[in-house]
């Protein structure tokens, strides 16, 4: 309630109204606190699900993306729900069995990533998602799309590295690109492994500001290193 309202109505104030106002004000504060607590709790819970093996499939990712999208559109001003919605949506694009859906899912991921960027500004982690979206599009038709999206995806990661050289996910994704690119086109398993090792040292050194800021990828990096051996 705006103070001006009080001035206008001061003449008519009586006890009942004062009490009512106090209670209402208390209720609003309580609700606001509940809201931010609700946000943190919900985010903690959902971010916690990201690493669960139950969600590591197209259906699970879709469900998580849906939830993050709901939180994002209810909050409007938080970039993290949009970020995670984009992350889950692009993972869904990687995991879907229906190649015809890849572009639509990548488009949805992009919408979320761009909203996150509008709220947060340029960010290495958002660039990681943008790079993943470009790589996902290659899957539709590797022979003709690899040439266009491969280098674009790499350029977005290079930009991320400049923004935050300590971000482990940048190295992890660069390693992944090296691992899955045929050697003749610049891929290399040994270079991929080196990159994963850099990523792991950066993961170890990383000090996330809270439990809901981006911090995924360490387990996945270890899994990829295992694959090389």
């Amino acid at each position: 309630m705006k103070p001006s309202r009080f001035h206008l109505t001061r003449k008519k104030l009586n006890m009942k109204q004062i009490l009512f106002s106090l209670v209402l004000a208390g209720g609003v504060t309580f609700a606001a606190q509940a809201q931010s607590e609700q946000y943190n709790d919900a985010m903690k819970q959902q971010v916690g699900l990201l690493d669960s093996s139950n969600t590591y499939n197209a259906g699970g990712m879709q469900q998580l993306a849906n939830t993050f999208e709901r939180i994002a559109q209810a909050e409007q001003t938080q970039w993290l729900p949009y970020y995670y919605a984009a992350y889950c949506r692009v993972n869904e694009a990687y995991m879907t069995k229906d190649k015809g859906k890849i572009d639509e899912l990548a488009d949805m991921a992009l919408v979320n990533a761009e909203k996150a960027q509008a709220l947060k500004g340029k960010d290495a982690d958002i660039n990681c998602i943008l790079s993943m979206i470009l790589s996902a599009r290659i899957g539709v038709d590797p022979m003709t799309r690899g040439m266009k999206y491969g280098p674009e995806s790499a350029a977005v990661l290079e930009e991320a590295k400049k923004m935050d050289p300590e971000n482990p996910r940048v190295y992890m994704l660069q390693g992944q690109a090296l691992l899955y690119t045929p050697e003749a086109f610049g891929g290399s398993k040994t270079k991929a492994k080196e990159m994963f090792e850099v990523a792991l040292t950066k993961f170890a050194a990383a000090k996330p500001a809270s439990s809901i800021v981006p911090q995924w990828g360490e387990a996945y990096t270890k899994m990829l290193i295992e694959q090389i051996k």
């Binding site: 709901r70 559109q73 003749a184």
Partner: protein
Amino acid sequence: MHKPFLTLIFLTFIPLLLEAQQTVSGRVTTAKRKPLPGVNIAIKGSYDGATTKADGTFSFTTSVTGERFITASLTGYQTLEIKTDIADAQQLQLVLRETVNELKMVTISAGSFEASDEKKNTMLKPLDIVTTAGANADIVSALRTLPGAQQVGEKEGLFVRGGTGYETQTFIDGMMVRNPFYSGMPDFAARGRFSPFLFKGTTFSSGGYSAQYGQALSSALVLESTDLPDRSSYTLGLGSVGPSVGVDILTKDKKKAYGFEADYANLTPYFALMKQKQKPTIAPQGANVSANYRMKTSKTGMLKFFVTGSWNRFGFQGESLEYPGFKEDFELENYNVYTNLNYKESLGKGWRVQLGTSYSTNHDRIYMDTIGKHPLPTRIRARQDLSQFRMVFSKNLGRYSLLRFGSEYQYADERSAFNEWNADYVDSYAAGFVEGDIYFTPRFVGRLGGRYEYSSLLRNANIAPRASLAYKLDGKSQVALAYGEFYQKPEPQHLRFDHDLGYMRATHYIASFQRVTEFYTLRTEVFYKEYHDLVKTVPDYNNNGNGYAKGIELFWRDRKSIKNVDYWLSYSYLDTKRDYLNYPFRVQPDFAADHTATLVYKHYISSLQLNLGATYSFATGRPYYNPTRPESEFMKDRTRTLNTLSVNVNYITKIGQAFTVFVFTMSNVLGNDQEYGFRYSSDKLRRSMVGPMAPRFFYLGMFMSFGIDRTQEVINRQ
């Protein structure tokens, strides 16, 4: 004080009351009652919601109350928003409508094979054209593996559905190309002039095509030039026929690009190694230089300029058929310049414009002689100049439909000199067309249009109606019908001798079915074509020829059944007869085989970085003219069945900083006899077989790409 106190207590409990849980439940389906899983159900402005299960149902609890918006969203569907009181939000029945995207819309399909990166649902990709074994990166050779095209090896061009090579015209950015092929020798097909890498889209139409294109009785080859490259590149190539260099620069602001390419070919070393049927007196040699400039003039505008010049010459000496024991000399020198300037822009409110102009000039000098024999050597000088302008406007009608209209003007200057004797002519040709792509529904489209043409040389106009219908049966299958009238001027070689000839005409009827899924493509077409007013040369030039062609064609492509293998199979059955040129009556012409089949196979072995490809072509014998038979048995003889197997191998590696591809290709590996027909001496005592210059052709090359990765392109430039 009691009352306010009660109020206070009541109000204190409001937050708790708000926490009271309400269940929201329901089911989401398509309009056809198919359950939709994965739908995001949300109460607007709250976190509460759910994702629908496999049976489309959802159920969740919420503390939100009162009138709220509930949304249901899923990729590929329009988001649904309903206003409801949460207390009533149980057993909701929600129906989502599919968004109409390119994949779900029907497209005009009868008669055409399209290769495009940009459009989905095409049967081919531009890469397919260059990775086809035996095609040696020649567009027309690659398209010859598709149904409808004949395996004609002795003449250039596409012989489509009972039509001659002349009946197929090539269009670049909408404009007709006068000399799309290099100049060759009689009875030997020459390659196309234009590299497949210049084009982002290639459409091979075997009939029933748009009113935008005219002057082609049978078929249109529609090529769309590339826009800006993704990045700059430098390439260097060295092959068994010669070297090549290329530069393609994209400016920093990514709004302009310019490039140059040059190559030189000389077959002297190759011929030293591989014996040819005839003795080369001048080994084939030539140089090509091309330059291009492309600029984004605005967000929606694009200007493109392309120029290419080439020079080539060759000479062969063979046994004389006419005079046994004597030699025949044939020498040819050719100069060609082709330019194309094109501008596209959006004018707003759904209007678009495309303007184009093109100029080309082609000079041939031919020398023919039977050594030591009279008459004197024959010298032919021929020159063809074609200037043209083209303008097309289009306007969106509603959400999907489109109206297109435009006009074009061509000025052709055709000169030829046979020793001292000249036969020249000029023709001013003007045409206008109107065409509408009308979507009755997103699944049902009709293309209706017409074309008006006038030629000053023929002093005659024509009006050609065209119509096409296509209906999508489900997400993957569609049926289509097409009809059209097609007019074409007689061939220059006839027109230069008789200016009183009229248009030739063909009527097409096509019915097709196609099913395109992610890994499989099936397509079948039946057609009937009626020829009218074909040119006859006996008793003298006239337009009294006629004919028909009918047949059935099949195309099957499979990219899944065999691991790392992509193959396609084409089959064409053709029944055609015509009475034209010097034919005494209607017969099957010498360029038509009853059955034609092609198998194209592509195999990628990633562990070895090897690409293997093979193309097998088969055609039943074609008729040939045997003058020793009585006239009633005209064209009764058949050549041998044609069988050829061509292979290609690419090895991809890295040398220093350059991506490098080694390429090896060989045509007719098995060395099968290729009998295209026979020529007889005038006394009918001797004959010689028409066939290739050598049973096999091989090519070995190495291509390096610096700066950026252009390997994929190079792999295929065989």
